[in-house]
Each structure stands twice: as structure tokens, then as C-alpha cells.
């Protein structure tokens, strides 16, 4: 019996001109978004590979020079992009792509792609995420707002109710029927995305499939929330008009007002310091001898152990230039950890503030999850910043320790090192955060999304139970 209802609703949706046309348009938009995402991802990944390879080559082929010159020459780190990012590019347009890892300072990650784009970008790019987050729910609303209320208005609800069929089953049948009509859109979209992902598969994203699978799951849950909500509202109100207005209102709150309001509230609650403030903070801390003292407790034992020195005496007998560099560089590490740590914590606090309130709307729960799984949230950006900085420190320590041990041993003239030393620095590998890392801190939105699902199903079932033919 339920299959009858499912088939009936499915056929009805397909015969509905609204669904057909809107469905075709949305399918085309999805394809276009997927194609644009794919071609952008392919280009960007290729450019990144080339640039990173050239950087590595330049580093290894430096002429003989003082190691500290090499440290100043430095290396650029380029942010890798996970393949699922083509589905939801998240904060990528607004976060930098490269940082210069040189001596003495931790540089900012620069070149945000949005700076090289027009203001039209601020309306949001046409991405798979945009289609799934905003357009498909609106299609669900447009097709489903009258699912029950129109039957009431047409009078068919009376006749169906006279048949001796449980209203809950009838409504579930309807939900399944509409869901299978939407599956006509969603399943090919998922398949296409999967194919594109498979075509792009590269070493940078070992956990791409896990991420993609979970992405698909959270989006399906999100769309189901809208389906149950739409049918529930349609079954609860007297007229299709009321149903439509309520659902459009929910859609608008969900898609427009809630994200911006939360974002502004978070920004006023946890204001991000200005560049001038952070740089002044860094400059001030660099004057503070306390950092050098604390750093010494860290780097001295490390160097002594690493090179099998007898103790601080022997260490202090080595190259004074090397000691000087190690001292100031290591103190810098602590300063940067603190100053940039505060900055990044503040940004993360804004995002955590929003995640903690993600129960407010389904989209507020979905968006952080989607970005986290696509590897395009601030946490992933921060992971890049931190692993680049860690690599910078590897370069600095390698160069400075070499100076410490070898400076002054070559007789007169400045100390020069060569390819052997450059090769001691391992190639830069930016690790991909694991799924567990990606989902750390995403507990609230995950619970919120599941809660929304449960709540809308409950609402739907209650509405079905309360459904009256009159």
C-alpha cells in the first residue's frame, strides 16, 4: 500500500511542471557548479604542484653561501587543497594561499583569491554546496508546500481519509515519494561528484573518500530535514498559502539571516585584533628577555642531546654567531606561538561561538560540518599555517645548528655551506588532517543536525497523527 502512495507521489511530482522545470534548472546548475569546481581544482592543484616543485628545486640548488643567507632566502609554502574542496570551497577564497618561510619572522599567509576577483564574488560562488544548501531546499519547499494543504483545499484529503488508511502511513508514503523524486536529482549529483573526485584523486588526500562519504551523508540528512519540515508544515496549517509563507520564512531565516547574524555576533563577542596591534605585540615581546630565557630551557638541552655535547660549557664554546642566531630564533618561536596563537584562537573562538549556536537553524549546523569535511574551514587553514611554521623552524634550526658547529672551522673568510646542507632539510610535506582532526570541535553542529532531523521527523509524525480530514 505504501508503495502505491510512493509511486503516486513520485509520478505526481514528475508530472508537476514546477518540479520538472526547476529540477532541470537545478540539475544544470549542479553540473555547471561541479564542472567549474573540477576545472578550478585541477588548475589550482597543477599550479600548486609546479610552484612547490620549483621552490624545492631552488632550495636544493642554491649556490654555496652562508647558511644564514640561505635561511633568509627561505622557502615558500603553498597551501594544499583537498579534493572535496571542489564541493564546498568554504573559506578558501578568503584565506591566503602562500607564506614565505624566512629567517627571524613568521610571515602571514598572503594572497587571498577573493582579492583577485570582482565584487560579484560576494554574492557567493556557484558551488555544489550553494546548490545543495540553498537551492535544493527551496525546491523542496516549492514542490512540497501544498503536499497536504492542497489536498485539503482540493477536497481529495476528505476522500483519501474516507478510505480507511492510516494518515501516518499516507504521509510517510508521500514523504518517500517526494524523496524518491528528489533522489532523481541527488543521486546523479552524488555519482557525478564521486566520479569527479575519483578522476582527481591524488596523493594529497588520502582520506578523500571518507570525507566525501560523510559529506554526502550530512547533506542528505539536511535535505531530509527540509522534506519532513515541509510536509509537517503542510499537514499542520489550513491553507497552502499559509504553508508556503511559513516555509519561505523558515528558508529565509535559515539561509540568510541566521548565518550573518551569528557571524556578526561572534565578531563583536570575540573581536579580531588589527595587524598593527598584533605586530606591536610581537615587537614588544621580542624585547622581553623572559622569552629568551624560556627558550633557552628548550633549545639548549635539545642541541646538547642532539650533538652529544658534554654540557652548556661545551655548547657555549661553539660559534658565537651560531649561538646568537639560535638564541634569538628560538625566542622568536615562543613569541610567535603566543602572538599568532592569540590571533588564531580569537578567530577560532568566533567560529566556536557560532558552532555552539548551530542548533538555531539546520544550515547553521550543516555549514561548519560541510566546511570541515571539505577541508575548507579555518581549522584546516590554521593547520596549514602551523605546519608551515613548523617547517620554517626545521629550516632555521638546521641552518643555525650548522653555523654553530661549523662556523669558524674553515679558517679565514665567511663560512660557506653547500648542497649537502640544503639537502639536510627534508622536503616540505603539509600533512592532511585526519578525519578525526577535521571533526574535532564539530560535535555541537553534528548533534544539532541530528537533533534537527529527529525534531523534524517528530514534528512530521505528530502532524500526521493530528491530521484531520476537515
Amino acid at each position: 500500500m505504501i508503495s502505491t502512495i510512493v509511486r503516486h507521489e513520485f509520478k505526481g511530482a514528475l508530472r508537476d511542471g514546477r518540479f520538472r522545470w526547476a529540477g532541470i534548472i537545478i540539475a544544470l546548475l549542479l553540473l555547471a557548479a561541479l564542472f567549474a569546481g573540477w576545472s578550478y581544482h585541477r588548475d589550482i592543484s597543477a599550479q600548486r604542484r609546479e610552484a612547490a616543485h620549483a621552490e624545492q628545486h631552488r632550495w636544493l640548488n642554491q649556490p654555496e653561501k652562508n647558511p644564514h643567507s640561505a635561511a633568509h632566502y627561505g622557502v615558500y609554502a603553498f597551501k594544499p587543497r583537498l579534493t572535496p574542496a571542489l564541493i564546498d570551497p568554504g573559506v578558501e577564497p578568503y584565506a591566503g594561499v602562500a607564506t614565505w618561510m624566512e629567517a627571524h619572522r613568521q610571515n602571514d599567509v598572503l594572497y587571498r583569491p577573493a582579492e583577485d576577483a570582482t565584487a560579484a564574488q560576494r554574492f557567493g560562488d556557484l558551488t555544489v554546496a550553494l546548490v545543495l544548501q540553498l537551492l535544493l531546499p527551496l525546491l523542496i519547499v516549492a514542490v512540497g508546500f501544498g503536499a497536504v494543504s492542497a489536498e485539503r483545499e482540493r477536497g481529495t484529503l476528505r476522500q483519501v481519509s474516507a478510505l480507511g488508511l492510516s494518515p501516518t502511513r499516507w504521509l510517510f508514503g508521500k514523504a518517500l515519494g517526494l524523496a524518491s523524486a528528489f533522489a532523481l536529482l541527488a543521486v546523479p549529483a552524488l555519482l557525478c561528484s564521486g566520479l569527479v573526485l575519483a578522476a582527481l584523486q591524488d596523493g594529497a588526500t588520502e582520506n578523500a573518500w571518507g570525507r566525501f562519504g560523510l559529506l554526502a551523508l550530512v547533506y542528505l540528512v539536511y535535505l531530509a530535514v527540509f522534506l519532513f519540515l515541509t510536509l509537517g508544515v503542510s499537514a499542520s496549517v489550513r491553507s497552502s498559502r499559509a504553508s508556503l509563507i511559513i516555509l519561505l520564512g523558515v528558508w529565509m531565516l535559515n539561509g540568510l539571516l541566521v548565518p550573518r547574524t551569528l557571524s556578526e555576533l561572534a565578531a563583536s563577542r570575540h573581536p579580531v585584533p588589527s595587524v598593527a596591534e598584533v605586530k606591536n605585540n610581537v615587537a614588544q615581546k621580542q624585547q622581553d628577555p623572559e622569552y629568551a630565557r624560556r627558550a633557552r630551557e628548550i633549545w639548549e638541552p635539545r642541541v646538547i642531546a642532539k650533538y652529544g655535547l658534554s654540557g652548556v660549557e661545551e655548547l657555549n664554546g661553539l660559534s658565537s654567531r651560531g649561538l646568537q642566531l639560535l638564541r634569538s630564533e628560538s625566542a622568536g618561536y615562543l613569541v610567535f606561538d603566543e602572538a599568532y596563537g592569540e590571533l588564531h584562537d580569537q578567530i577560532e573562538a568566533q567560529n566556536a561561538y557560532q558552532r555552539a549556536r548551530s542548533w538555531i537553524a539546520p544550515l547553521a549546523a550543516l555549514q561548519p560540518l560541510s566546511r570541515a569535511l571539505a577541508g575548507t574551514d579555518f581549522a584546516h587553514h590554521r593547520a596549514f599555517i602551523e605546519s608551515a611554521e613548523a617547517y620554517r623552524r626545521v629550516i632555521q634550526d638546521t641552518m643555525n645548528e650548522d653555523i654553530l658547529l661549523n662556523d669558524g672551522k674553515q679558517g679565514s673568510g665567511p663560512y660557506l655551506a653547500g648542497a649537502d646542507l640544503w639537502a639536510k632539510v627534508p622536503p616540505l610535506v603539509i600533512p592532511t588532517p585526519t578525519l578525526g582532526d577535521a571533526l574535532r570541535g564539530q560535535c555541537a553542529p553534528l548533534v544539532a543536525l541530528v537533533a534537527w532531523f529527529a525534531a523534524t521527523v517528530l514534528f512530521f509524525v505528530t502532524a500526521a497523527r493530528r491530521l484531520r480530514a476537515l
Binding site: Q159, S161, A162, G164
Partner: protein, 233 residues
């Protein structure tokens, strides 16, 4: 087959049905007359379980309407004043849908038979219902009732808005259903049809049955005169 026993339904201070008692045997057609607001539709809505009666009870095929609303509804068919169908489905598809929801799955040829029996011309079976006239929709409604093989048929103003020949054809069909032993309750304003088709007639006023005529009485009564007199009292 259908027993209504001291049924009471109040809406606030207004009593819509006031102690109504009717019993209809298989093969009987009980025509319920009465002015607008007399409580005819409320009675039918109670039988359909759309509203809960405040007192009394109704029993269909031995089952209480209040206690087992879904079970009783499986045993009855219902044709409203205006049969409402799904516009972008054909007459046949509408029939198949309603029949299957009612628990009966038929081969397509059987469905065509039902529609033909209800008087819908064959070329209309596979056309979308959005192009149907009111009479054609009514015929699909009858086919749905036929396909349900119900023991009780509830009719709410089934002939209003039908032209005389369609209305006549409808009467013929009701006769056939009676022959099969269906108990029919028909609320109507159509005194002529009531006189023609009914085996019993009841006149309702302010929620109660104020007059009841047997088959024998109907044939030699001027129903219109009786009706007007009843209203005047």
C-alpha cells in the same frame, strides 16, 4: 448493516446532531432530507470518523465507528457532493490509486470495467482528469465506490449540479448497488431523486429526525408538501 444510535454532536453551544437514530439494512437506501444546517453532513462526517460524536454511537458492519475508525472505513465508500481527483493523473490512474489505498489491487481491465460500469465513456479513461466535467468526475467517484466493494455507501448531495440525464444514470447505478446488498445513506436536497430511489426517507431538522417514511409510504406521498409542512412546524 449501519446503525446510528442516539448520536449527539455539539459545536460549542450549538447542537448539530441531537440524538439521531437510524438503522439501515443491506440493500436499503435511506435518503436523508433536511435544510442546510440540519445536521446531515455532520452525521456523515461522524460516520467517516472525521469528527468525534459527543454521545451515542454508530456501528458499521458490527464495528464501532469511534473505536475502530480505520476498520469501519475499509467497509464503507463515500461520494461527496463534489468528487475531487488528482488533476494531472488520468481517470484510470485516479481509480487505481484510490482503489489500492482502499486495499484493493485490480488488473487494468477490471479498472476499465469499473469505469465503464460507472458510465464513463471509454475514450475518457486515459485522459487527465483536469479536463473532466463535473459529471465525469462524479462517475470516477462512483467507480471508486464500486471498486472498493463496500458494504455501506455514504453519499453527500451526490446529484447536485448534475444534469438530468447524468442524474438519472446515477439513480440506475444506485439501484444496481442496492441489488448487491449495499446499505446506502444519501444526504440530499433532491426530493425528486429521493422519491425515485429511496427505500426509506427521513427528514432532519435541528439535528433530529422529525419524520420517517417507509417505502410503501413514499410512493403515495407528495414529498415536497410534506417537507414544507415539516419545516413550518
Amino acid at each position: 448493516m449501519l446503525q446510528i444510535d442516539r448520536l449527539v454532536k455539539r459545536f460549542g453551544s450549538h447542537t448539530a446532531v441531537n440524538g439521531l437514530t437510524i438503522s439501515i439494512a443491506p440493500g436499503e437506501l435511506f435518503a436523508l432530507l433536511g435544510p442546510n444546517g440540519a445536521g446531515k453532513t455532520t452525521t456523515i462526517n461522524c460516520l467517516l470518523g472525521f469528527i468525534q460524536p459527543d454521545e451515542g454511537q454508530a456501528v458499521i458492519d458490527g464495528l464501532s465507528v469511534v473505536q475502530q475508525p480505520l476498520e469501519t472505513k475499509r467497509r464503507l465508500a463515500y461520494i461527496p457532493e463534489q468528487v475531487n481527483l488528482y488533476g494531472h493523473f488520468t481517470g484510470l490512474e485516479n481509480l487505481a490509486y484510490f482503489a489500492e489505498l482502499g486495499g484493493h489491487r485490480y488488473a487494468e481491465s477490471r479498472l476499465h470495467d469499473f469505469l465503464a460500469e460507472a458510465g464513463l465513456q471509454p475514450e475518457a479513461h486515459e485522459r487527465r482528469v483536469s479536463g473532466y466535467s463535473k459529471g465525469m468526475r462524479q462517475k470516477v467517484g462512483i467507480a471508486i465506490a464500486l471498486a472498493k466493494e463496500a458494504k455501506v455507501l455514504l453519499l453527500d448531495e451526490p446529484t447536485s449540479g448534475l444534469d438530468p440525464s447524468a442524474s438519472h444514470e446515477f439513480s440506475r447505478l444506485l439501484g444496481r448497488l442496492r441489488e448487491r446488498g449495499v446499505a446506502i445513506l444519501m444526504a440530499t436536497h433532491d426530493l425528486f431523486r429521493a422519491k425515485e430511489d429511496a427505500t426509506r426517507v427521513g427528514i432532519m431538522r435541528h439535528g433530529s429526525l422529525v419524520r420517517e417514511l417507509t417505502a410503501a409510504e413514499i410512493s403515495h406521498t407528495d414529498l415536497e408538501k410534506l417537507y414544507l409542512e415539516t419545516m413550518r412546524d
